[in-house]
């Protein structure tokens, strides 16, 4: 061949330069980054904490329908429909509301309410006896779940940012719609991280309808042995020596964590720690209606309970109507006020979470494994390169160059795409190196066969490449196919393997076939016709 050797050489050099910049970064102002900055190491190699959380998105759906139950009751009352029972009877179907007992005379009024735009998110089915079932539409459920997950990610990110971790990863995870991956390089105290994420758990303000009681039994006794369906019993935190009091609260919250726009710790006129907050406009209007009706001077004075993590944190009487800003004063320390306002500020999680996986690698272990891994990889590669030189003499140089180039391209690619090198990724690199060496061996052995058959050097190279090429394509495409499937269906570590493997194989095709060929052609061009080839 030898055609357009200069063009091919230029192409190879260009590719090489491009990927070199991938490793050291594109120079700007004379500065290049070091390879350590460009190649992201996985937590298994550099140490850190890896968490997988599950967000209980169904909770958000349940609490949305709870709110709609309350709203529907009020709307039906307003429309003059009295005597109807609105509720959720089937705990396994939290997205379903059942309306029963509508008086026959009021059926059309009720239908008007149910089919109003306020309940557009629901499919309404009415049976002959006038009972109606509202089921939240699948799309609405999905939307709500997605929003819940997104809000959770956002909230966790804000909290993690306050920890001052550099380059945290917080993202959706897995095939389901309810998992979050949190990766914190350099953090080797998962307990602290879990505490900080956990402390963001669900926060809400509820109306107090009864209490405090000392025990569950006395709470039941005080309510004629039955908890009203729109209410729930919630225990106090029982912290700081305070008795574990029990309160009867309205099930539907007046304000949720997501309704807070801002919160700041402060002190009231008596010097007691308090929290000043701002609500979103919509929540402010809602809160105003409620607090106005229940101020201390009104006919129905009320109190509010701040509930965090399903525990009553604070109960306060409503002093005056609160629109969109107000303050919470209670028996808490300044530190608690600070913490609570931080939680309000960064927003509480819209649903509770649980931990599925926690993996922590101490920095020393990570450093040890990368050090040993690199030493082993270099030792292995050196052995391979020396063998190739001894066994294939001149042609061994082609193979060694191809091998080095291959590594440069692979590292450069990782630098550009910001992909992370993990232990399984190193497995991918090993397979790549193995297959790269194999491509060269295939070609060289084939060239030797052709030479033995009496062909000239040029013809042997030509034939050797032509035959080996078919095999190389088959082996590489097969493996790339499997790498792509692994990438699609695998999770974290399997994906890390698939990425380095797939790209390493593309690099192989380039180096083993094009680069190696160009070197052979360049050598052949300089030689006299019929001179022997060093192989």
């Amino acid at each position: 061949m030898g055609k357009n050797l200069a063009g091919k050489s230029a192409f190879i050099v260009a590719v090489l330069v491009i990927f070199c910049f991938g490793i050291v970064g594109i120079p700007h102002g004379g500065l290049t980054q070091s390879i350590k900055d460009r190649i992201h190491l996985g937590l298994d190699l550099k140490g850190g904490t890896h968490l997988v959380l599950e967000v209980h998105v169904a909770e958000a759906v349940a609490s949305a329908t709870d709110r709609d139950v309350a709203r529907l009751e009020a709307d039906l009352q307003k429309a003059g429909v009295t005597g109807a029972t609105v509720g959720k009877t089937d705990p396994s179907r939290p997205q379903t509301i059942i309306v029963s007992g509508i008086p026959a005379a009021k059926l059309s009024d009720a239908r008007g309410v149910l089919q109003g735009s306020d309940y557009g998110n629901y499919d309404v089915v009415t049976t002959a006896d006038g009972n109606s079932t509202l089921t939240m539409k699948l799309g609405a459920v999905r939307d709500l779940e997605t929003r819940t997950l997104d809000t959770s990610i956002e909230t966790i990110r804000e909290r993690i940012d306050k920890l001052g971790v550099s380059e945290p990863v917080i993202q959706k995870y897995g095939l389901g719609e309810n998992q979050i991956l949190v990766e914190l390089p350099g953090v080797d105290d998962p307990a602290r991280v879990e505490e900080i994420i956990q402390s963001t758990a669900k926060l809400s303000i509820h109306a107090v309808t009864g209490g405090p009681y000392e025990t569950d039994q006395s709470a039941l006794a005080a309510n004629n042995g039955i908890i009203p369906p729109d209410s729930m019993l919630v225990h106090g935190t029982g912290s700081a020596g305070a008795p574990d009091q029990i309160w009867l609260l309205k099930r539907v919250s007046e304000v949720e964590g997501t309704d807070f726009r801002d919160a700041q710790p402060g002190q009231d006129q008596n010097g007691r720690p308090n929290i000043r907050f701002n609500l979103t406009t919509e929540a402010g209007n809602r809160f105003y209606n409620y607090t106005q009706a229940h101020t201390a001077s009104s006919a129905t004075p009320g109190s509010m309970a701040i509930v965090l993590d399903n525990k009553v944190r604070e109960v306060a009487g409503i002093q005056s109507a609160i629109r969109d800003s107000g303050e919470i004063t209670g028996a808490f320390t300044q530190q608690q006020a600070n913490d609570l306002s931080l939680m309000l500020r960064t927003g509480a999680l819209p649903a509770s979470i649980s931990y599925l996986e926690t993996r922590t690698v101490g920095p020393s272990l990570g450093a040890a494994s990368i050090h040993q891994g690199i030493v082993a990889a270099i030792a292995g590669m050196l052995a391979v390169m020396i063998f190739m030189l001894i066994y294939y003499r001149g042609a061994g140089i082609n193979a060694d160059l191809a091998l080095i180039l291959n590594l440069v391209i692979l590292l450069g690619f990782m630098g550009y795409t910001g992909s992370t090198l993990t232990l399984p990724g190193i497995a991918g690199v090993i397979l790549t190196i193995g297959m790269g060496v194999d491509s060269n061996v295939l070609i060289f052995e084939r060239i030797r066969e052709e030479l033995r058959a009496g062909k000239t050097a040029a013809a042997a190279v030509q034939q050797g490449f032509a035959h080996a090429w078919v095999t190389i394509i088959d082996t590489h495409v097969t493996t790339i196919v499997s790498a792509m499937i692994l990438f699609l269906f695998g999770s974290g570590p399997v994906r890390g393997f698939a990425i380095t493997l797939a790209f390493g194989l593309f690099a192989n095709l380039f180096t083993a076939v094009l680069v190696s060929r160009v070197i052979f052609d360049a050598i052949l061009q300089k030689k006299e016709r019929g001179a022997a080839l060093s192989i």
Binding site: A377, F489, P493
Partner: protein, 320 residues
Amino acid sequence: MELFRTTNIDWLGKKWFFLGFSLIFSVLGVLSILFWHHIPLGVDFKGGTQVRVAFDKAPNEDHIRQAMDRAGVHDARIQRVSDPSGHAANKVIIALPESTATDQSHDAGRQSVESALNANYHDSRFTVEQVEIVGPTAGKQLQKQAWLATLYSLIGMLIYLWFRFELIYGVAAVVAVFHDTLITVGAFSLTNQEITLTVIAAILTLIGYSMNDTIVVFDRIRENLALSRRESLHDVVNRSINQTLSRTVISSGLTFLTVLSLYLFGGEVLHGFSFALVVGILIGTYSSIAVAAPMLVAYQDWRVSKGKSVTLPAGKRAKV
């Protein structure tokens, strides 16, 4: 320098020997998987808590066990970490079964291990190097995903080989790869080494490698079949294996060298990972000669015995 310049070994003539060899190791592995150590899944897949602790001085395992017992942790498995090169004897892995890591009280196991150690080791300092807590849900999910990903990728390879060669080639290659995986997993079961996520990556590597090796032989068979139509399949397969033998030995030998250096110098974290590769490269190379190629001939013989066709599955012409 040249090894195996002209070899003329009757590989297929040794098929009963190979079959016996493969059977012994497969059956040993399967027996161990079924009745002995089962598939020793690591905490990644099984769920549970695993704490790796490095002590200043080499600790006494009984002492640790007593400390755990006093703290009320009775089902801990305590294992001293051993390096292939014999280092790091002062490290210990304390593993608690899955029941301690429910999705609710996620890190109760870690806390009790740490507090037990804190209460009992004043004289020798220790550092917690690694903590892995996997809830039962996550473990099952990871397990399912790893199996499915592997299964799909095998199907993908099968389809590509079907398209490029003939179905029987794809089937033979997949059977060979399955054989390799079974024996490797069997080796893990026999030696009671845990299969973790990184071991799965190593098994995927072995699948890729074994497939690569098999395709090289198949490619040569296809090429030779197209050249000499009159030769028997038996002879063509033998000749193809012999022709590619030097490449097989060199490539596998070099890859084995890399993997062996990883096994010897890679440290204990890479132990399971490199063990799978060491076994995998050996068995993967063996299977392309001893399992995949004979299957083609066996298939052909079976077709002939059925009186279907005397011509062999020549495969599509090699053209790219």
